[in-house]
Homo-oligomer: 69 residues x 2
Amino acid sequence: MTETVTLKVAMMCGGCEGAVRRVLNNMPGVQKVDIDLPSQKVVVTGDVTQDAVLQTVAKSGKKTELWPQ
Amino acid sequence: MTETVTLKVAMMCGGCEGAVRRVLNNMPGVQKVDIDLPSQKVVVTGDVTQDAVLQTVAKSGKKTELWPQ
């Protein structure tokens, strides 16, 4: 089932963005990763759960949280 | 046994450095992490192996290699 998970991830530069993109692209089930660096918004689409996406991004060492509603 | 592992890690800003420091500080056995951002040099001291340190840093999504001799 396709889910969309939106996170706020502490990213400061293109290197930060690249690292987050790399760990998410390596995650099973992920189909699409959209990142907007200025707003630190990361949108992940795929056969994934919110918890699994949060844990994967946390492994990158970046501070992360669900996008504030 | 205390080992010292020296890596070159692609880091561009303080956020990159912080992420690498965070994943290494969470790694079992690590006693000390020294990072020089301008030279992208990371020196890890502790009861660790070269392979395990490389794998841990790779999980951060940063490109990494052993420091060129």
